[in-house]
């Protein structure tokens, strides 16, 4: 499991685990499902316009088993694509702990990016909710800036309750900085 591989530090606590909003995955899954059912749409279209596509019925009649096999293959491949979408959604996450933010970005099956940002190095965290649907469903983009190189900035789109996430990170940052000021020997521990 993932948390065994991340190897949390001693006494480190996970405050929040965030995945993209359900609307984001919902739209992707519905699109995939629509394509998966393409053979069914084809049959429905043929049933609605039987005279226009009469020659297709003749072809289907002579090669029906091949059509069913092709349809099953199509649905199976579309389902595999759907499960790939689900996997990328589920394995793509933010883990906010009381010491750092861990970003797991599952781009494809063979492309995975894991970034770790320590809270004491965070400088600014902002969120943006743009559009009607994101406003109504409360999801948006969270952008964070860390001290150091420009490449240390990170942005993630489609996160649920971005205001709440910002608040959790801000509180964790403040708490962490207070702890470090009280006990400077804790830096990087």
């Amino acid at each position: 499991m993932l948390f065994d591989k991340i190897e949390l530090e001693a006494d480190e606590q996970v405050l929040k685990t965030v995945r993209k909003h359900w609307f984001v995955i919902g739209v992707e899954l519905l699109s995939a499902l629509f394509f998966a059912l393409m053979p069914v749409w084809l049959i429905i279209a043929l049933a609605i316009f039987p005279t226009t596509f009469s020659f297709v019925w003749v072809i289907l009649d002579t090669n029906f088993s091949l059509y069913v096999l092709g349809s099953a293959a199509w649905v199976l491949l579309a389902l595999l694509a759907t499960f790939a979408i689900w996997t990328h959604y589920y394995l793509d996450l933010w883990v906010v702990t009381d010491r750092r933010i861990i970003l797991v970005d599952q781009i494809t099956f063979f492309s995975r990016n894991v970034s770790v940002f320590r809270l004491e190095r965070m400088q600014d965290i902002e969120f943006k909710v743009s559009g009607i649907i994101p406003t109504l469903l409360n999801f948006g983009t969270v952008k964070a800036q860390t001290a150091g190189a420009h490449e240390s900035n990170f942005t993630s789109t489609g996160l649920p309750d971005p205001r709440g996430l910002q608040s959790v990170i801000q509180q964790a940052m403040d708490k962490r900085l207070n702890t470090l000021h009280a006990m400077p020997d804790q830096v990087n521990h």
Binding site: K5, F55, V75, F83, T87, L91
Partner: protein, 81 residues
């Protein structure tokens, strides 16, 4: 008319080269290979990177319930019908 339809049949040229049974077999083995490879990669990713055992279990069950009948159906069409 029938001749016209036969000319429009996308499978007519193909069946001169291969029989319908051979085409079915080729499609079946090709899809089966993709399915087996994908299943291996899919299983590895969920075992290695998931954070929730229950979600992993539900995903495996859904995957099996939706895909295995399709593979079996393809096998029946290819080898029996």
């Amino acid at each position: 008319m029938e001749e016209q339809i036969a000319n429009m049949d996308p499978f007519s040229g193909m069946t001169d080269l291969m029989s319908v049974g051979e085409v079915s077999l080729l499609v079946f083995y090709l899809v089966l290979a993709i399915y087996v490879i994908f299943t291996g990669i899919f299983y590895y990713h969920w075992q290695a990177y998931s954070t929730d055992k229950r979600a992993t279990y539900l995903t495996y069950v859904t995957y099996a319930v939706t895909t295995v009948p399709l593979v079996l159906m393809m096998a029946v069409i290819t080898f029996i019908l």
